[in-house]
C-alpha cells in the first residue's frame, strides 16, 4: 500500500521534471526513427513492427537506467532519501514504490508508441499477435532492466555513476545470450537460459511461455529485493 503511495508520488512529480520529458522524447525519437527512417520501412512495404521490437531491447539498456538514476542515487545525494527512510516505511516498500514509479513512466513511453502500430495497420495488413507480444515483452524486459538499474542506483549518490553502471549491467545481461556461440557446449543451455534477448524474442514472436515470463519476473523480484537490501545496509553504516 505504501509502495503504491510512493509510486503515485513518483508519477505525479515526474511530469514537472524537464528531464523526464527529455528521456521519454529521446526514446520515442530514437525508436521511431529506427522504425520508419533508418530501416527501409517504406521501401520493403511490409506492415510490421519488427524493427522496433528488435531495436527497443537495446534502447532499453539506455532508457531504463536513465529512469532509475534519479530514483535513489539523486535522492541520496540531495538527502531526500534520508528523510524518506526516517519515515515509517519499509526498505522493501521504498524499493517496490520506486520500481513501480519507474515502470509507470516506462509504460507511458510505450503507450506513446501505440500510434505506430495503428498507423502501420492502416497502411497494410498488420499481424497484431506479435505486436501485443512485443509490448508485453518490452514491459517485462524493461521491468527487469529497471530492477537492475535500481540496484545500481541504490549503491551510489552520483546520478552519472548510477546511469553508466546501470547501462553496463543491463547491456551485459543483454549481451549474455550472444556469447552462446563461443561458450563450451555444456555452458550453452545456461547462457541461453540467461539470455534476456532470446527470451524477449520468444515473447515478441507472440509465443508467451510461462517460463520466459517467470524469468523476467524473477529478475525483477531479485533486483527489487537487492535494492531493499542495499537500502537497509546503507542505513546502518
Amino acid at each position: 500500500m505504501k509502495a503504491l503511495i510512493l509510486a503515485r508520488r513518483e508519477l505525479a512529480g515526474v511530469f514537472n521534471l524537464p528531464i523526464a520529458y527529455l528521456v521519454v522524447a529521446a526514446f520515442l525519437a530514437l525508436a521511431g526513427s529506427y522504425l520508419f527512417v533508418l530501416q527501409p520501412f517504406f521501401e520493403t512495404g511490409r506492415a510490421t513492427l519488427r524493427p522496433f521490437f528488435e531495436f527497443a531491447p537495446f534502447l532499453f539498456t539506455l532508457f531504463a537506467p536513465a529512469l532509475t538514476m534519479r530514483s535513489l542515487a539523486e535522492e541520496r545525494r540531495t538527502g531526500t532519501l534520508e528523510v524518506l527512510l526516517s519515515w515509517p516505511v519499509g526498505d522493501g516498500e521504498v524499493a517496490v514504490g520506486k520500481f513501480l514509479g519507474s515502470l509507470g513512466i516506462l509504460a507511458i513511453a510505450l503507450l506513446l508508441t501505440l500510434p505506430w502500430p495503428l498507423a502501420v495497420s492502416a497502411l497494410g495488413d498488420l499481424d497484431w499477435g506479435p505486436v501485443w507480444g512485443g509490448y508485453v515483452g518490452l514491459l517485462l524486459l524493461g521491468g527487469a532492466y529497471l530492477a537492475l538499474g535500481l540496484v545500481v542506483s541504490a549503491t551510489t549518490h552520483n546520478q552519472i555513476v548510477a546511469f553508466m553502471g546501470g547501462f553496463l549491467l543491463c547491456f551485459a545481461v543483454y549481451l549474455v545470450g550472444r556469447t552462446a556461440a563461443g561458450a563450451p557446449a555444456w555452458l550453452v543451455p545456461v547462457v541461453e537460459g540467461l539470455s534476456f534477448e532470446r527470451r524477449f524474442a520468444q515473447i515478441a514472436r507472440g509465443v508467451i511461455d510461462v517460463r520466459d515470463v517467470a524469468f523476467f519476473l524473477s529478475v525483477i523480484v531479485v533486483g527489487v529485493g537487492l535494492t531493499a537490501e542495499v537500502l537497509g545496509a546503507r542505513r546502518w553504516r
Binding site: 505525479a12 514537472n16 531526500t80 534520508e82 546502518w236
Partner: protein, 294 residues
C-alpha cells in the same frame, strides 16, 4: 522519554562520538550546541534510527531505537540540515503525499492546519523547487510536524536563513513545544537561548555541558560596584572577609561568593553598595570557553 547511554560512533578511524550520556524528559526543548564536527548530527541521526551506534544504547520511551518490534520512526519526526525536499511537487501535493505515507488521520484537515501553522497557505499551490530557502525550510518543518509526532528532531533548522526567517522558524519551534519533545541543533546561540529549555554542548564527541541557558550563563558569579573606596582596596578587604577571591575588572569587582554575604560585607566595611548583579556572560563566551576556543 529519551535516554542515551555511553553512545559511541566511529566512522572508520574517526571518532564522532566518544561515549555520551544524557536524558531528555517529555516536553523538553533541548538545543544541541557545538562546533562543526562535534557530533551533533551523528547524535541526532542515531536517535532517528538512521544510523547505528558503534556501541552504547539509545532509548526512546524506554524502547531501544533499533527495536525491531517497535518502529521508532512512528514516534519521531526528523528534519535534516537544509531540509531536503524534492522540488517537483506543489507544497500541498507534497504534504498530502507525506500524510498518506505516514497514515495521518483526517488527511485533508491535517494538511490544511499544518499549512496554516507554518504560514504556507499563500504558496500551497507552488512547486517546492521554486520556493525561497525560508519557505522550503517551513515546508520541511510542516512535513515533520504533520503526523503530530511526540518527538521532533531538527538538525540546524535555521541554517542558511536570514535573520527575519530565523525569528519566524524560532517562533514556529516555540509554538510546537506543547507536550512535545523537541531536540534541535544549532550554531546560533541566540536561537538556543530563545527556544531551548536546556542546552547540551558537545565538543569532539563529548558532552561538555548540560544545563539550562540561565545556569550556563550564571556560572560567572556576581558583579559588585562599590563607592567611597578604591576598587583594589575594596577587593583586598572583601577577599579577606568573604574567604573567596574578589577580582577587579576596572571599576567593577567580581566574585563567586553568595550575593547576600557580599552585600553584608560591603555594608559592614562602610562602603557604598552601588550595584550588585549576576555576572552573566553571554552564551557565546561560555560556548567558547567550554569548547576550548577561548
Amino acid at each position: 522519554m529519551i535516554r542515551v547511554e555511553q553512545l559511541v560512533r566511529r566512522y572508520g578511524p574517526v571518532t564522532a562520538l566518544a561515549g555520551i550520556d544524557f536524558t531528555i524528559a517529555r516536553g523538553e526543548v533541548v538545543g544541541f550546541l557545538g562546533p562543526n564536527g562535534a557530533g551533533k548530527s551523528t547524535t541526532l541521526r542515531i536517535l532517528t534510527g538512521l544510523l547505528a551506534p558503534t556501541s552504547g544504547r539509545a532509548f526512546i520511551d524506554g524502547h531501544p531505537v533499533d527495536d525491531p518490534r517497535r518502529d521508532i520512526r512512528t514516534v519521531v519526526s526528523y528534519l535534516p540540515e537544509t531540509a531536503p525536499i524534492q522540488g517537483e511537487l506543489s507544497v500541498r501535493a507534497h504534504l498530502d503525499f507525506v500524510a498518506r505515507l505516514r497514515k495521518v488521520p483526517q488527511r485533508k484537515a491535517a494538511v490544511a492546519s499544518v499549512l496554516a501553522r507554518c504560514g504556507l497557505e499563500r504558496v500551497a499551490h507552488r512547486l517546492i523547487g521554486q520556493l525561497s530557502k525560508g519557505y522550503r525550510q517551513r515546508v520541511g518543518l510542516a512535513q515533520a510536524i504533520l503526523p503530530d509526532p511526540p518527538v521532533l528532531i531538527l538538525d540546524e533548522p535555521s541554517s542558511g536563513l536570514d535573520p527575519n526567517q530565523r525569528v519566524e522558524i524560532r517562533s514556529l519551534i516555540n509554538s510546537l513545544r506543547a507536550d512535545r519533545t523537541v531536540i534541535f541543533s544549532s550554531h546560533v546561540l541566540a536561537e538556543v537561548e530563545a527556544v531551548a529549555s536546556r542546552v547540551i554542548i558537545l565538543d569532539q564527541g563529548r558532552v561538555v555541558a548540560d544545563a539550562t541557558p540561565e545556569q550556563l550563563r550564571a556560572g560567572e558569579g556576581m558583579r559588585v560596584q562599590v563607592g567611597g573606596v578604591a576598587p583594589t582596596i575594596a577587593a583586598a578587604h572583601l577577599t579577606a572577609v568573604l574567604g573567596t577571591p574578589v577580582v577587579v575588572h576596572g571599576d567593577v569587582l567580581q566574585t563567586r561568593a553568595e550575593p547576600a554575604a557580599v552585600a553584608r560585607a560591603v555594608v559592614a566595611a562602610g562602603y557604598d553598595l552601588l550595584a550588585l548583579t549576576p555576572a552573566t556572560s553571554d552564551l557565546e563566551t561560555v560556548f567558547r570557553r567550554l569548547t576550548g576556543a577561548a
